[in-house]
Amino acid sequence: MSIKAFELVPAIERLKLMSDKAKTQIECIDVCGKNLYIGTNDCFVVHYILEERPTQAGRMAFHNEKQGHKYLALKKPIDQLRAASALNRILVLCDHTLTMLNMLDLEPVMSGAKVKGVTYFCLNDNPVRGNPFSVEVCVALKKKQIQLYTITEDRIIHVKDVSIPEQAIRIGIDGHFICAALASQYCMVNFETGQLQDLFPYDSESTKPVVKRISKEEFLLSGPSALGMFVTSEGISQRPPMQLSDNLLGVSYVHPYIVSLNDEFITVHSILDQQQKQAIPFQGGANIGDFDGRVFISSAKEIYALVPVAWEKQVQALLADKRVQEALDLAKNANHAGLSKDKFLKIYRRFQQQAAFIEFSQQNFDEAKELFKGGKVDVRELLSLYPGLMPSSSNFTRSIPVLHEIADVNNLCKDNEEMKKDYKKFLRNYLEEIRGTKDGHGFKQVIDTVLLKLYAEINWPELIPLIAVDTGCDLKESVEWLEKYERYHALGLLFKYHGENDKAMQIWSRLVNGEIKDELFPGLEFVVEFLSNINDPELVWKYVDWALEKDQELSVKIFTERPSNEPPTERFRPETVIDYLHRFPKAVIAYLEYLIFQKKLEKEKYHTHLAVLYLDSVLQLMKNNNVKKEHLDNARSKLRHMLQLSNMYRVQLILGKVKEQDMHAECAILYGKLEEHDKAMKILVHKLKDYVAAENYCFVNSQGKDSTYRKRLFHILLGVYLDPSNERKDLLVTPAVELLNRNVTEFDTAKVLQLLPENWSVQLVKQFLSQTVRKSMNFHRTIRIERMMSRGENLWVKEASIQMQKSPIQMNDDKMCAVCNRAFSDPTFVRYPNGIITHVHCAKNKHVCPVTGKLFSICSKNS
């Protein structure tokens, strides 16, 4: 997987200086700001000024100008060069000696400070001491030792020696830690404590050791089999190794890339995923170095710069290759220097958006969904990919520059219908998720309209809730769409939501009539409920006829189940409704039942009307011979219930009709209403022979009246049982005896005894008699007790009265009324039990003392 992370740009083509000497070769380089230093194999140090000059085409180019050169007169190659700009010096390693030159004129320092026997040196980029005018340098010596120096402008100050088991070939330093490549292994040395930790062995035959400081306390080493090994100062690895190329000459690091050089290639690896990203063929490479984040590479004669391609471009390139994850990782981890968080976020969002559409086009829906959300993609951008779904009211145009190259979903799917379905399913899920969240903010109408379209297409059950509750659907467009897919019930709901009840009713009435079909439509009940709940009499009256013709009993609910908070209107006055309902007998009954039993309206007219209607329906059933008994019974019990419960109807009217038909039970009730209990009970006993009902009758008709009334009723009943004029009175002995024996408390014994036929044995009524005797004894004794107690109480009161009156009260002119404080002129006065004396007319309440407010009770002993 490749990406163009860097561009190779020539910095200094041929060394002009050495044109006369063909043998001269670049040995080492260093770049510091605009200064570029070259150390040659024939002991020259050459100084160039290098300036970046972008060409008109926007590419980077370099302009170089030679400043000067210095021959060190050692006839040995310059092994290493490092500029120390803080000191205005360059450190030069040549012939195992470390010396210093002035950075600008390349003259040796006056002090002549130097270190001998050095094989390699490095600067501490993470210095331990904070002096900005000194540089910490670590050197590897020919002997088994590493030395630390602090270098100032003209002095090299020895700090520390560290002994190591073998000679160090390469070293790197960070803080207190020196990572050293020894002859056969790498080790990590803490120069403060002298602690040495072996890392891992390498084969010095096949591997050129490399120690590259990557970041704080982390180094990259070249391991066996060309593995680039990451090591922290703790001696462990926190990243997996990366496979670098063989014959590695050196590595550089520009976040997030590791650039490595061998004799044929420049190779770029990402430190993020350890994968190779780019390879640039480069023959004869010798040195590689990163200087202030710029990578330079030299061959024997030429110097090149590796100019990083802007990370935005790299991300764009990755996205173009549809390498989404890589692109986003890079975007997140790239060097965002010079970008504020907001700016970066803006750029990153755009990449996320592009990525989202890439994942989308590859049907990676989960990833796409997250990216759509994360990238805050304008939902219309996505919708515009679905032909026909975008609301026509939206004048959306895709953002420019384009986020994707997708024409539309149909184009993506070619003719694959399954895939199209998947895409629509994705859109549905996505919209459902963002609906009502901040992601969907501001697009409610668009989202709802599109969802409606999607639901309508597949007849999804969510369609109904979508429309019925807080919908933002665009009416006109939704109507067209719903009609197209024949989602009529939803259409009705939509009209209803938008207050177009008439249109809604048109749809629903057609649905009920079966002219159009929709399986989601719940049926007539729904329409009735709707009509009963809308506050629009015009509409109700318009459709009520139709509804009643469909189903009277159901449709009457339009009137009976009006919302409780609906103010009473002229249009729904009971009289009006009843008049109207005249054609629909069942509906009338239901409506009257509602008025009487639920609303508890006490109008004779309604009650009589209902009773008559009940009666009519019973009569109708009776006429018809082949009606099931249950039906008839049902109808009659309804009638009886009504007759019994209500007191408002015109009894005579009903009675007349009932009598004609020999409806005895009803007759009995009606006689009861007329207080003609004798007649009623005769019917019950003789005609119906229902003795339980007869007894019941006594209870029911005496309800709410005093006990003597009930007694009277029972006596009437008994009289009916024992009527001597009755021919078949023997049959009634049993119920009579039972009645006596059970309801004994309700009878006046003396009257009963008169009634009883002479031929009855005492045995027959023994139970009644004994209970009666017991009862009257009890009654007699209770009365006596009461009488005695009353007498006692009377004595008590008398005594109290005597007590109070026994002391004389002297009245004279000095005595004043306690209330009005005037003298007494009449001989009458009032004395309260507590001695307060007032005029008769001043004693307003004889139980309350007018002065102290004390209460006096007549029976209270203490008063």
């Binding site: 891992f200 066996p224 593995l227 462990i236 790239a334």
Partner: protein, 223 residues
């Protein structure tokens, strides 16, 4: 994906897997991390996976079984809190290698390093093809863990797994975590939750994370 976003965080536990070439170390880890079985290329050097365990980060290091990397393996064993010693149940030689080649490497690991012996490729086991008995593997697992108190474990540190079917794989890893980073029941539950959501983590930008800038640039004037 896991490595790129998470490598900056320090791991609370390092688990290393060792074992002979082609015993299925990478497959074992992939079965655990990705939940699926797929063929793998030979691991080069080592590979690295980060896993959430409750509040902890666990670094799982996969090593290359190839003998040429032996020198590196001992380096990668450094600071390991737990080691998985994997062998192929169908090859006795791979079991012997554990003792001969890999056990000495663990000298670099933590002193109290838990060593779990894992037999792989259980699904390939035919009647008669087993070359390592359960008893000897169990005995081996007890012997090599004499540095720790075995009574603290609720079972012997020996598992027989199949990366193809996933048998015992998750149990084995969670056995290790539960020993090294014990979680309460409640935390365990939420650990399962994060397992589910972690897939989305990488698609968001962490605004609290400091912008990564080149470390070289800042040091310019101290040269």
């Amino acid at each position: 994906m896991t490595t790129s976003s998470a490598d900056k965080r320090k791991a609370d536990l390092k688990v290393i897997i060792l074992g002979d070439f082609a015993v299925g170390k990478t497959s074992l880890i992939c079965r655990y991390i990705e939940g699926k079985f797929r063929p793998h290329e030979t691991t080069i050097g080592a590979a690295f996976f980060l896993k959430q365990w409750g509040p902890y980060n666990v670094a799982v290091w996969d090593t290359a079984g190839d003998e040429k990397y032996t020198g590196l393996q001992s380096f990668y064993c450094r600071n390991a809190g737990a080691a998985i010693l994997a062998f192929d149940l169908n090859h006795e030689s791979s079991f012997e290698s554990l003792w001969a080649r890999f056990l000495p490497l663990l000298d670099n690991a933590n002193e109290d390093c838990l060593k779990v012996v894992v037999g792989t490729k259980l699904d390939l086991l035919q009647p008669g093809s087993r070359e390592v008995t359960q008893e000897e593997a169990r005995r081996f697992s007890r012997e090599i863990n004499n540095n720790i108190d075995l009574k603290k474990l609720d079972r012997e540190p020996y598992f027989e797994t199949s990366s193809k079917t996933g048998q015992s794989v998750t149990e084995m890893f969670e056995f290790i975590y539960q020993y090294c980073l014990p979680l309460s029941e409640h935390e365990k539950k939420s650990a399962v939750e994060t397992k589910r959501t972690s897939a989305f983590n990488t698609s968001t930008v962490d605004l609290n994370k400091p912008a990564v800038s080149s470390p070289k640039r800042t040091n310019c004037c101290s040269r």
